[in-house]
Assembly symmetry: C2
């Protein structure tokens, strides 16, 4: 008898009919002999409505009250799923975060799960009852309702799976993790398996399938994580019992990936902006004088390039930030112009970050060089570069996004046959 | 420093702007020097929407899940009021039923409050914080969310006032308790004070200002209860401090009512149906044979009249039930026709129950007789009569409702000058 956590997002529970479809997926797993806990988001659009109320009440709303208000959305969907499961003859009950309890830190709207007392849940599941858990929420030591931040239901599901020693299936509106965005590259393939490390890079580089924090947790607690579609016909999905492997993508440990590709996927993000600080003295401490004030203003800097003039006396420093932070970054630097001693600032937001990701890069040389070659052969200029052990990111002009994705996808042998 | 519980219903919190108006009422009371707890209903229409979801999920929904779902409505309004109060510079926080906790019985959707641990609430109020309490809800011994049944927020407010040793102001969409329905009788007057006993009779006889259970509780715990309008300009209400007496109607102990009227008010209910059981043997046990099966089917019988034929051998028995129970009552009796031995059943639902209510009736003779005289003088036939110490009810043809109300209102000197 194995334990399974199934998580469904907002579009999968958008109305009572959709929730009925979710119940069919749950029924299938119960009939397969699994002990099942389900984690739900709020109905699509519901959280936005509640956030709207809070903003209308005050521009400066108390985040503890916000958490109390928006957590009601998951309460509704989990109660409804319990009713529908009972109607299908399956014993089920709903659990609010505070009822389990899922204990979190006290940072309202961005709480972190600290401990899950899953004894009650396990007792109920061992009786054959499906536990329907309101995602995204917990309770602080002070007894206030907390929420985990946007996308937090993924994190609820993985944390619950860790505490129940269960595997975790994340049902989304896509049917798995792809080599790249299939809306742009028709030849994109679904990956049968991907490692935690790769998934983590992809999630933080712009692939929106899973919340980054949930992948981190899965990696730390070695929770087998499967991404699959909630729009498939629930009774028509072949599941290989005991294999943890269904029709979606399994996010798992590296050792379980049999056919290892050098590059597993190509992620991209248009949500970037570039700032060039022109004509600063190339002397020790100059970088700190630029990046310290940005860090103090809570602005994360991603890629950094420094070009030194031929005489070695002056330099241009280019870096990227997320597009939302651009205005703030400019005003922080302008305030320090005297101190830093730059001539001018230049900004651009029509840029895209393209990243190749793959655990095979560790053991293969020349992977990044190939990327630069491919882009050069298509006349695409590289504005900045950043690398890690298992990824290489480049910044390019946004106009070339599609061309770059397609050429790289072919060059790394990722195209579907 | 006196403690005050203020309760606002669904139309008073229908949207964020209305909740802002509620906050102004609260602000006024805080500035008067009161320690304030506020009890809120859900936004008007919200509970119906949630009930609709439950019915769509299953005709036979689990009432514990229903309670979990519908209790979210009060969670939203109380969080929003806390945010708005803070925005006005008033310290405030929301409390769910389970956070206080308000402990109830385990009967889902019809739970009764058993105990309120108000220590946390009192500590918070003594620090000068306004407690915004989600009405209508509590927590069972099993840790499940319960609700108190429709209109339960009135009961939450009175129970909370009892546990806080506070007075209780109920804000509604009318500005007090009237001698009768002002939509029908233009001369209806607002009563400055009315006794618990009278209010209880009026509430159960059809005046929909307060939930019956809340008046019972107020009477038992001697909670001074004031009914007033939430649509008055919040800064424009004269309050006499220390007097517990504002511009609405005070529901209080009999001793506090200075100018005692013989009849305080006239209630009516069109929600009645009449059943006549024709031609039964007039023998001992015949009433039991009719009313026992009805009681077993959970049907409450109100007025009962028995007419015996001149020879004393046969009788017709007439009684009333609430209109909703009529079909059920008929089928219960038809099933027992052999046993009871009646000839036929006759039903009518075009009837109205008119009731005069007044504590003065205890000490004045001829009050009921005057009622019968007045109705007779207008040619209105009395179909049944029921009396208690402080009320007399008659059943009449529904067509005469307005005429009866107006003539009785004048006859008992209730008309406004």
């Amino acid at each position: 008898m194995s334990r399974l956590v199934m998580k469904f997002g907002g579009t999968s529970v958008a109305d009572v009919e959709r929730i009925r479809n979710v119940a069919l997926h749950v029924k299938r797993e119960v009939e397969e002999g699994n002990q099942v806990a389900v984690v739900l988001s709020a109905m699509a659009g519901k959280t936005d409505e509640l956030v709207g109320f809070c903003k209308q009440a005050s521009a400066n709303y108390d985040r503890r009250e916000y958490d109390f208000i928006v957590s009601s959305g998951e309460q509704i969907t989990s109660g409804l799923l319990a009713i529908i499961l009972q109607d299908m003859g399956i014993d089920a009950r709903s659990w609010a975060g505070w009822q389990i309890p899922i204990k979190t830190s006290s940072v309202a709207s961005a709480a972190r799960i600290e401990e899950i007392d899953s004894a009650n849940l396990i007792a109920s599941m061992e009786k054959g009852q499906v536990s329907v858990v309101a995602g995204f929420q917990g309770i602080s030591a002070e007894g206030r309702v907390t929420t985990l931040g946007r996308g937090g239901s993924d994190t609820s599901a993985v944390a619950l799976a860790a505490s129940l020693d269960a595997r975790c299936d994340i049902y989304t509106d896509v049917d798995g993790v792809y080599t790249t965005d299939p809306r742009i590259v028709k030849q994109a393939r679904k990956l049968p398996r991907v490692s935690y490390e790769e998934m983590l890079e992809m999630a933080s580089l712009g692939a929106k399938v899973l919340q980054t924090r949930s992948v981190e947790l899965a990696m730390v607690y070695k929770v087998p994580l499967q991404v699959r579609s909630s729009f498939d016909a629930p009774d028509n999905i072949p599941v290989v019992p005991g294999n943890n492997f269904g029709p979606g993508t399994l996010v798992c440990e590296e050792e379980l990936i049999v056919e290892e590709q050098v590059v597993s996927g190509i992620a991209y993000s248009k949500d970037e902006a570039k700032v060039t600080v022109r004509h600063v003295k190339d002397k020790p401490g100059i970088s700190a004088s630029i990046f310290r004030p940005l860090a103090d203003a809570n602005i994360s800097v991603d890629m950094i390039v420094q070009n030194v003039s031929p005489d070695g006396e002056f330099a241009n420093i280019t870096f990227t930030v997320v597009a939302n932070d651009l205005d703030m970054a400019v005003s922080v630097l302008e305030e320090k112009q005297q101190e830093i001693g730059f001539e001018s600032l230049e900004t651009a937001s029509n840029v895209t970050k393209i990243s190749i990701v793959g655990i095979g890069m560790r053991s293969h040389a020349g992977v990044a060089a190939k990327m630069f070659d491919v882009l050069a052969s298509h006349g695409i200029n590289i504005l900045a570069i950043a690398t890690s052990e298992i990824k290489t990111s480049v910044l390019i002009d946004q106009d070339y996004t599609e061309l770059a994705l397609r050429s790289l996808h072919t060059a790394y042998d990722l195209d579907a046959e």
